[in-house]
Amino acid sequence: MAYLLNTDEQVKEMLDTLGLKTLEELYDYLPKELIIDELNIPEALGEIDVLRSFQNLSAKNKVFSSIFRGAGSYRHYIPAVVPEMANKERFKTAYTPYQAEVSQGTLQSIFEFQTMICELTGMDVANASVYDGASAAAEAVSMCRDRKKKRAYISGGVNPRVINTVKTYSWSFNAPVEILEQTKDGLVDIDALEKTEHTDIAALLIEQPNYYGLFEDVSKIVEVAHKKGIKVIVKVNPIAAAVVESVGECGADIAVGEGQPLGIPLGFGGPYLGFMACKKNLLRAIPGRIVGETKDEEGNRAYVLTLQAREQHIRRETAGSNLCSNQALCAITASVYMSSMGPKGMEDVAMQCYNKAHYLANELGKIGFKLRYNSEFFHEFVTESPCDIEKLNRYLENNNILGGLPIENNGILWCATEMNTKHDIDNLVSLCKEVL
């Protein structure tokens, strides 16, 4: 039967040792009325048919040859070396590295991941990762709250799915959340922040670049927020972070983000990789696992899970978070990606995204898709739609292209990455023209 090992003879020997006759006797002492007669699921399939079933299901999904949609999930090129290294059997099958003496590989790779995330974000400390970018943002907001300050402000320019996640966590914690409407340029409303009369604001959550692809003036926002005693959390795109001033340098307190662009496949939204980094003064407030360097008894360099006094298995109901895992395999994936690309390769990816998105915006502008906002953008931007968006996207879909994402007020959120060739973009634009 599938992956069981013991033969009928072995089962019998083992039962004999226990003084039992049948496997069912192992459950004899349990309430009889709870034992079910049979499980109403299909009969077992051999591996050959399991594979066939999934191949059939897989064929019912459309793999687009060209994607111009991002909105929190991005198709980037994944070098062959990335899955090959990250999916090595031991990395994949090991558990949380509780026994440091036999887990130095996992621990060291997480330590390297923490270092690279600190480099990208300009922060001092990163944890070993969390579920995804949205839950990282929600955990960061919780981390800023204290007994007096419970309110969170979120810029309306933050990804709506992230806003929803932060709202869920905050409602659960009985803490208020306010949305700071963006300006007509699509940016954080710094004036409104300056004028707020709330004195119980723990944190402001913004995004760089924001959901609409626009660059925020993070330094200015931090300056205003800090004057009011508000901590600033910035959700950053890790690809953009290679070429955009780091949020740590801009004075932000916490950086979080979605690590999916770093070599993790689209995968219908998961598993992804949340990363979380902060300034030194918040070291003992950050949730999740952290790997630290130390020495063993003989003085050799060694890595261990550390600062566990923060965590739920010690603090139980006084812990700030119940996080007890990490996304180590995704973190290793991201580490292999970042180290394979290196600083120059990361810059190259980022600049190709930037260049292609600007080329796309320019070409779309020529045929009547006007930019909605007047601000600088990275690799996503919003246009008005001169035609019926649904009709447009259906037409593109029939041509094997996933078009931009329809958003509020008849807008389209477009995205281009290094995966979109000039030929792809020209083809998209000419197909759009056919619909007009």
């Binding site: 069981l4 090992l5 040792t17 558990y95 790779s109 579920y131 689209l266 998961g270």
Partner: protein, 480 residues
Amino acid sequence: MRKTLPLLFEKSVENRRTHYLSKCDVEELEIPKNFKRKVAPKLPELSETDITRHYTALEANTFGINDGFYPLGSCTMKYNPKINDKIASLPGFAEIHPLQPENTVQGIFEALEEANKSLSEITGMDIMSFQPAAGAHGELASLMMFKKYFEDRGETNRIKIIIPDSAHGTNPATVHMCGMKVINLKSNEKGCIDVEELKSVIDKDLAGIMLTNPNTLGIFEEDILEITKIIHDAGGLCYYDGANLNAIAGILRPGDMGFDCIHLNLHKTFSTPHGGGGPGSGAIGCKEFLRKYLPGPQIEKEKDLYKFNSYTESIGQLVAFYGNTLITLRALAFIMSYGKEGIPKMSKHAVLNANYLKQRLSERFDIFNKNLCMHEFIITMEKEAKNNNFTAKDMAKAILDEGMMAPTMYFPLIVKEALMVEPTETEGKETLDFVADKYIKIYDDVVANPELAKQFPKNTIISRPDEVTAARSPIVKYMR
């Protein structure tokens, strides 16, 4: 044997790189000055040769399931079938954007619906949600649903959650995250819930109970029907922590025991890889009356098309998209491989293996529970610690030297010097005999020469690390 490896950053050579992209084929621009990064991030500069050697060496310093016996109690470290990874990497799953139109992802919806049906049947629930990303996330989702349920009924006074003292630390932390209050319940001397004690802590503010059954001691709570009835009669709800489902899958169902809501660790019972700590999946299931509170969008079929449907009563999103879909697919493949007769057989073999190993080890070790256990059991080293200063930690480190993973140490908290052993069903009798012989030999050696206790491990690449200094003067990133 001792061998620590250089870090990626220490291997870095200025200007070394491998090119993965072609030259940019559109006009090359500059990032506007006021947003531009002044100094490039100090990522390592390496070739693909360096990278592959580095990670190959790191892998060798990692103990995986296929390196040997991996009996981490409560973690269900069973074999991870290869086919599951293969199906999850099919392009029709791995290369699908989460915001594609619904008509282009019908195969994924169909798979998730299959997983929903099978897991609902196995757990005795009415519907599952795959949004939670890990066990603790599933706990959080479930308790949020309880909170929402009471809000909707105007019973906002109901904020007390009963948790036995044998529970995992995530349970109380989850309650705190929901703005609720923990009522600790003392276990009886058998390690089980005392029904009279339970009755005594209930009042009008009861929201519910969080239970694992079998509990963290590997013991089935035989009074479970009475327990859930007491909670329901007092107006509370019952949550089942599915960490230990591997003992009972296909044999008894949490839904029949009276539970209203559960979480499952698909990376435990349903064999998806643990990944060094994640990604896992904390799928949750509930009874019909709680369905509308489930997180995120739910999949529903309209005519012949599956689509997402959002309920206004839902607790909302817990992650940006729909959870760890590629993990759920692996779990479904696992269920399909075992089928209706295989799933109960799997649990029976897990329980048989645990009882057999427990019997063998009881030749030397004190076992907390003398009766038949479920899928795991606890060794207590209390006596040895007292007599010979031979602690659970020492035993664990000695086990590492034998090329095996150590059991879970010092959990549950209510047993002193605990080692929690869960062999799972994917071990054969010969391995269990080998393990028992080794454990007994270590025991005899140390009892004969107590000074040995602190010397383990000798054969691993580092000796015991200094955890105190790590926490007192934290170094959490590489500094040049």
